[in-house]
C-alpha cells in the first residue's frame, strides 16, 4: 500500500470516528436526560454478526478479499434485517437504527472498496469491523 493510500484511509477513519463519536455522545446524553429510555430489544440473532467482523479481517490478512467481501455482504444483509424490525418512534430503537444504518453504509462502502482496491482497502475494513464490535457492545450490552 502506498503512503498516500494509507494516510488517506487513516484520515477517512478519523472523520468516521468523529461521526460515530457524535452519535454516541448524543445517545449517552439523550438516554440520561430523556426520562423515556427503554433498552432497545435487539433480535437475538444480531449476535450472528459478531464473528463476521474479525473473520473478514482475518481473510483480508490472508489476502482472500473475495471471502472478506462475502462476509461484508452478509453483515450488511443482517443489518438491514435488524433495521426492518426497529420502531423509530421509540428513542432507544431510533438510535439503534441510526447507528446500524450508518454502519451499514460504511460496511457497504468497505465491500465496494475491497472490490476496487483489493487488500489496499483493508485498513478501512479493519476499522469498520472494530467499529461494529463497538456498536454491538454499545447497543446490545450497554444501552
Amino acid at each position: 500500500m502506498t503512503n498516500i493510500a494509507r494516510t488517506g484511509q487513516s484520515l477517512l477513519i478519523a472523520a468516521s470516528s468523529m461521526l460515530f463519536a457524535a452519535f454516541t455522545s448524543a445517545l449517552v446524553v439523550r438516554r440520561a436526560i430523556g426520562g423515556d429510555w427503554v433498552s432497545p430489544p435487539l433480535p437475538y440473532w444480531i449476535w450472528l454478526t459478531l464473528p463476521l467482523a474479525p473473520l473478514a479481517s482475518w481473510w483480508i490478512h490472508r489476502g482472500r478479499t473475495g471471502w472478506a467481501m462475502a462476509a461484508g455482504v452478509l453483515l450488511v444483509a443482517l443489518q438491514l434485517a435488524v433495521l426492518a424490525q426497529l420502531r423509530l418512534a421509540v428513542i432507544g430503537e431510533a438510535f439503534c437504527a441510526v447507528l446500524t444504518a450508518a454502519h451499514a453504509v460504511h460496511a457497504a462502502a468497505g465491500v465496494a472498496a475491497l472490490g476496487r482496491f483489493g487488500v489496499n482497502a483493508g485498513l478501512f475494513w479493519h476499522f469498520a469491523g472494530l467499529l461494529w464490535l463497538y456498536l454491538l457492545f454499545l447497543l446490545g450490552v450497554w444501552a
Binding site: 468523529m18 457524535a22 452519535f23 446524553v29 430523556g34 431510533a94 441510526v98
Partner: protein, 540 residues
C-alpha cells in the same frame, strides 16, 4: 472560428477538470457568485428594517406568498436572514479562502504536481456546487426558504410545516444541502491533509512550509474533525422531521394550538452538536486568511515574517482550542455556571495565540521597507478588523456580559467584523496578490486602493454602530423595530447603517469592474512581480 471551437471544447473539458488550478478557480467563481447573492439578500433586509411598512412591487414579484401586496412578512424576513447566513458562512467564507486559494496554491507552494487525489478534488467541488443548488432551490419550493437561521435550532427546525412557511420542504432542502456540504468538505479536508503530509517537496519539513500552507493544513484538520459532527446533527434532525423520532423534540410541546406527540428530546443536545462544529467553523473561515496575511505582510515589508515558528504553532493552538470552547455560544441555554466558567476561561485563552499572531504581524512591519500595494492595504485592513472584531470576542466570552449581549446586535457586529469582513479582506488581499499568477495580469492597483479605502471606511460605518444597538439591547432577527418602545432610540442609527450598507454594496462594483476588466486588459505581469520567495512564483 477555429479559435472559438477550441474554446468551446476547452470549456467542456475544464468543467469537470481534475487540475487543481481549474478547481481552485471554480471554487473562487462559486464563492464570488455566492457573495453577491448573499450581499443582495442583506440589502433587502437592511431596506426592510428601516422601511418596515413599505410595499415594494419587486418583493411581490419575487415572493408572492412572502410579500403579499409587496408588504414583506416577518417570515420572509427570517427566510432571507437564514439564506444570507447560510450562503455567506458555507459558500463564501468556507469556500474561497480554503478550497479556492488552497487548491490553486497549496500544491504549487509545496512543489507538488497536483493534489493527492485529483478525482476526489473534482468530486468535492461538484458536490459543493450541488449543495449550493439544493440550498437555492429552497427559495423556489412551496413555502419558500426556511426560517430557522444558519444554526437551525430545533424545535423550530424539527417539526416541519406546522412551525411556519419554509419549515416544510424548504428546511428539508436546507438540511440536505448542508449534509452535501459536509461530505464535500470532508473530501476536501482529506485531500488537503494527505497532500501536505505526503507530497511536500523532498527536504521540505513541516516547519519549512510557507505560513499559507500552515493555514490550509490546520483548517483542513479542523474540517476533518468538525464536519462529521455537523453531519450527525443534521441526520438526527432530518429524522425528527420526517420519521417521527424525538432526538431533539421535547415532550408537551404545543405549536400553533396543536399539541405535539413527541417526548423526551432535547433541543440543547442539538445546540451542543451544532456548536461543536460551529465554533471550529469560525476558524475554518479565518485561518487561511491568517496564513495569507502573514505572507503578504512579509513580502511587502521586504522581510521574513517575524517569529515564523510561533505563527505556525499559534495556528495549531487556535485550531485545537477551537474544539473546546463551543459552550460559549450556549451560556444562556441553562448550562451549569461551572461549565460556563470552564468554557469562558478556555475562550479567553484563544486570545493568547491570537495576540501572538497580531504582535508578530506588527513586528513584521517594524523596521521593514514597506511597499503599499493594494494587497498590502487589504492585509493591514485585515489586521485592523481582526483586532476590533477580536476584542469584542473577549467581551462576549464572559458569561456575565454575554447574558446581556446574547442575541443582540452586539453579537451581529462582533461576528461580522471578525469572521465575515476580516475573512473577506483576506480574500481581497489574496486576489490582488495572486491575480498575476492566476491570470498573468495585475488587478489595477489604483482602483484596488480606492476600493480598499472606501470599503474599509464603510464596513466600520456599518458595523461599529451595531455595537451600540447591542448596548441598548436591540435583539437580532426582529423584522420590525418600531413596535417596541425601547427600540425607538436606535431607529436613526439603523437608518445610518442601512445607508452605509447601500454605499458599501455599490462600492463593490469597483472591485467587480476591476476583476473582469483586469482579467482581459490588465497590465501584463512578470513571473515574480512582488519579489516573493515562495515556490508558486518560480514553479510552472
Amino acid at each position: 472560428m477555429d479559435a472559438r471551437g477550441a474554446a468551446e471544447g476547452r470549456t467542456a473539458v475544464t468543467l469537470f477538470s481534475t487540475d487543481h488550478r481549474v478547481i481552485g478557480k471554480q471554487y473562487i467563481g462559486l464563492a464570488l457568485f455566492s457573495v453577491l447573492l448573499g450581499m443582495l439578500l442583506s440589502l433587502v433586509m437592511r431596506f426592510h428594517l428601516v422601511h418596515p411598512d413599505s410595499k415594494v412591487r419587486l418583493f411581490q414579484m419575487l415572493w408572492p406568498d412572502g410579500a403579499p401586496g409587496g408588504q414583506m412578512t416577518p417570515e420572509l424576513y427570517l427566510s432571507l436572514m437564514t439564506m444570507h447566513g447560510t450562503i455567506m458562512v458555507f459558500f463564501v467564507l468556507t469556500t474561497a479562502p480554503q478550497s479556492g486559494f488552497g487548491n490553486y496554491f497549496l500544491p504549487l507552494q509545496l512543489g507538488a504536481k497536483d493534489m493527492a487525489f485529483p478525482v476526489l478534488n473534482m468530486l468535492s467541488f461538484w458536490t459543493t456546487a450541488l449543495s449550493l443548488v439544493t440550498l437555492l432551490a429552497a427559495f423556489l419550493v412551496e413555502g419558500g426558504a426556511p426560517l430557522s437561521g444558519w444554526t437551525a435550532y430545533p424545535p423550530l427546525s424539527g417539526l416541519g410545516k406546522i412551525t411556519g412557511p419554509g419549515q416544510g420542504l424548504g428546511q428539508d432542502l436546507w438540511i440536505v444541502s448542508i449534509a452535501l456540504f459536509c461530505a464535500a468538505s470532508l473530501m476536501g479536508a482529506i485531500n488537503f491533509i494527505v497532500t501536505v503530509i505526503e507530497l511536500r517537496a523532498p527536504g521540505m519539513g513541516y516547519f519549512d512550509m510557507p505560513l499559507t500552507c500552515w493555514g490550509w493544513f490546520v483548517t483542513a484538520l479542523i474540517s476533518l474533525f468538525a464536519f462529521a459532527v455537523l453531519l450527525a446533527g443534521g441526520i438526527l434532525l432530518l429524522l425528527d422531521r420526517s420519521a417521527g423520532t424525538s432526538f431533539f423534540i421535547p415532550a408537551g410541546l404545543v405549536v400553533n394550538d396543536q399539541a405535539q406527540t413527541r417526548s423526551g428530546g432535547s433541543p440543547i443536545l442539538f445546540q451542543h452538536l451544532f456548536w461543536f462544529f460551529g465554533h471550529p467553523e469560525v476558524y475554518i473561515a479565518i485561518l487561511p486568511g491568517m496564513g495569507l496575511i502573514s505572507t503578504v505582510l512579509g513580502v511587502f515589508s521586504g522581510k521574513k515574517v517575524f517569529g515564523y515558528k510561533a505563527m505556525a504553532i499559534a495556528m495549531l493552538a487556535i485550531g485545537g482550542l477551537g474544539f473546546v470552547v463551543w459552550g460559549h455560544h450556549m451560556f444562556i441555554s441553562g448550562m451549569s455556571p461551572y461549565s460556563s466558567i470552564a468554557f469562558s476561561v478556555l475562550t479567553l485563552a484563544v486570545g493568547v495565540p491570537s495576540a501572538v499572531k497580531t504582535f508578530n504581524w506588527l513586528a513584521t512591519l517594524w523596521g521593514g521597507r514597506l511597499r503599499f500595494s493594494a494587497a498590502m492595504h487589504y492585509a493591514l485592513g485585515f489586521v485592523s478588523l481582526f483586532i476590533t472584531g477580536g476584542i469584542t470576542g473577549l467581551v462576549l466570552g464572559q458569561p456575565g456580559l454575554d447574558i446581556y449581549f446574547h442575541d443582540t446586535y452586539f453579537v451581529v457586529a462582533h461576528f461580522h467584523l471578525i469572521m465575515g469582513v476580516a475573512a473577506i479582506f483576506a480574500i481581497f488581499a489574496g486576489l490582488h496578490y495572486w491575480f498575476p499568477k492566476m491570470y498573468g495580469r495585475f488587478l489595477h492597483e489604483g482602483l484596488g486602493k480606492l476600493h480598499f479605502f472606501l470599503t474599509f471606511a464603510l464596513v466600520y460605518a456599518v458595523f461599529v454602530p451595531l455595537h451600540f444597538a447591542g448596548f441598548v439591547g436591540n435583539p437580532r432577527r426582529y423584522p420590525d423595530f418600531k413596535e417596541y418602545e425601547f427600540l425607538k432610540t436606535v431607529l436613526p442609527l439603523h437608518i445610518g447603517v442601512t445607508h452605509a450598507a447601500y454605499t458599501l454594496a455599490a462600492v463593490q462594483l469597483l472591485f467587480l469592474g476591476n476583476y473582469f476588466w483586469s482579467k482581459r486588459r490588465g497590465a501584463v505581469a512578470p513571473a515574480n512581480p512582488w519579489g516573493a520567495d515562495t515556490r508558486e512564483w518560480s514553479d510552472d
